[in-house]
């Protein structure tokens, strides 16, 4: 049984999808969290291929790049999709979600209060509704984006909406199939356990 060690900041951020995938796959791993202010002194002595975290160490070997790590863990958890085409579809939906997620993150990280308010309005009115309408179309009646079982694209969508609904609480109202996706993810036993136990962080 390989040993997995995930190292990231003490936030959900770019690591949470990975943690959710470990949880859904019921794969034990070490969840190492580094505080922001400790990183400058730790960085030069940390085993990071590209000077960044998150990193994943598996039996002594290390990779970085959060999405490469996520794809690897999704593979181990059997959540990539069954065929090459299914995997491509899941991958496509995740990447599409990340395009929107990027805009959301820019809004959240905006330091100027009035610019942030403007970005928040713009995201909520211009970017979020068409994205949700599009993805409601992609989702199956069974509450899965790909095929008839959970894949990492369901989990990725859940994770992203977890962040987004914190700022836009009613965003998913009326989207039957998307709500089913969310329910399917939340009721996965490993995910349910993780959601109850995970540290509460601002980001």
């Amino acid at each position: 049984m390989p040993t997995y060690k995930l190292t990231c900041f003490n936030v959900r951020g770019r690591a949470e999808l990975i943690r959710l995938l470990f949880a859904a796959g019921e794969i034990p791993y070490e969840d190492v969290r580094i505080e922001w202010d400790k990183w400058p002194e730790l960085k030069p002595i940390s085993d990071t291929p590209m000077g960044q975290i998150p990193t994943l160490e598996v039996d002594g070997q290390v990779i970085c790049q959060s999405m490469a790590i996520a794809r690897f863990v999704a593979g181990k958890a059997g959540l990539l999709g069954k065929t090459n085409m299914d995997q491509a579809r899941a991958d496509m939906l995740l990447d599409g979600g990340m395009d929107v997620g990027k805009l959301f993150t820019e809004m959240v990280m905006e330091k100027d209060a009035s610019k942030k308010a403007e970005k928040k309005k713009e995201f909520g009115e211009k970017h979020l509704p068409p994205f949700l309408a599009l993805y409601e179309g992609f989702a199956g009646d069974n509450g899965h984006f790909v095929g008839d079982s959970l894949t990492w694209s369901d989990i990725g969508f859940f994770n992203m909406m977890d962040f987004i609904t914190a700022e836009y609480p009613g965003a998913l109202d009326g989207y039957c199939k998307l709500n089913k996706v969310i329910d399917n993810v939340k009721s996965n036993p490993g995910v349910a356990k993780w959601l109850k136990e995970r540290p509460v962080t601002n980001h």
Binding site: P49, M50, G51, V58, Q61, I63, C64, Q65, M67, A68, I69, R71, F72, G75, N84, M85, Q87, A88, R89, D91, M92, L94, D95, G96, L134
Partner: protein, 201 residues
């Protein structure tokens, strides 16, 4: 019966070139559709996410360049051995995408002052990035493992514009130079490069 692949993009390297290079390197037949902007407009509404590139496989259509090239990598056998090697290849390509994004940010910046600022940033970023990749690169002319993967093609592709500007960029990075050499040694890729349209991006 081999699947029918149809790749649709603008007449540019941009976000489609890595996929084209994979099909070419692996000798897999595909239709390389290049659209002018006016041809794209009517198609945009019926596309999955209103964006290019798109890949059609036996009638099914997908988009998102990363999903497309990762799919193509599996179909062409260029993704590396399943499991850890595949993850390492993935990691390298993600890092090359980071570089590509920075390069494009500069190329597309219209404000002259911001462009100069970004160019200055690149002048530090690129050598550090290359030095890091040189450290991580395998010794045999491949970023990972002992044979061609799409990481080598992505690196070759990512370096194209940089090398065009400064042919000696990889002088201090012999392992990376070897990667570019191995890609050039693929006869199909060399023939494709010689014939492909010259484009801004």
């Amino acid at each position: 019966m081999a699947p029918k692949y149809k790749l649709t993009y603008f007449n540019a390297r941009g976000r489609a070139e890595l996929t084209r290079l994979m099909f070419v390197a692996a000798g897999v037949e595909y239709e390389d559709v290049r659209l002018e902007r006016e041809e794209w407009r009517p198609l945009k509404e019926t596309s999955p996410m209103g964006q290019l590139p798109m890949l059609e496989v036996d009638g099914q259509v997908m988009c998102q360049s990363g999903a497309i090239f990762r799919y193509a990598a599996k179909e062409t056998g260029l993704s590396g051995s399943a499991g850890w090697e595949e993850a390492q290849v993935d990691m390298f390509v993600c890092g090359i995408e980071d570089l590509q994004t920075k390069l494009w940010e500069v190329r597309f910046e219209r404000d002259e002052a911001k462009k100069e600022e970004k160019k200055t940033g690149l002048a530090t970023f690129v050598p550090n990035w290359l030095a890091n990749y040189e450290k991580l690169c395998g010794p045999d002319g491949h970023l990972v493992g002992a044979k061609l993967t799409y990481a080598d093609l992505a690196f070759f592709n990512g370096m194209h514009d940089i090398l065009k500007e400064r042919a000696d960029t990889l002088e201090k990075f012999p392992k990376l130079a070897k990667v570019v050499e191995s890609v050039n040694e693929n006869k199909a890729v060399a023939a494709y490069i010689a014939e492909r349209p010259e484009t801004f991006i």
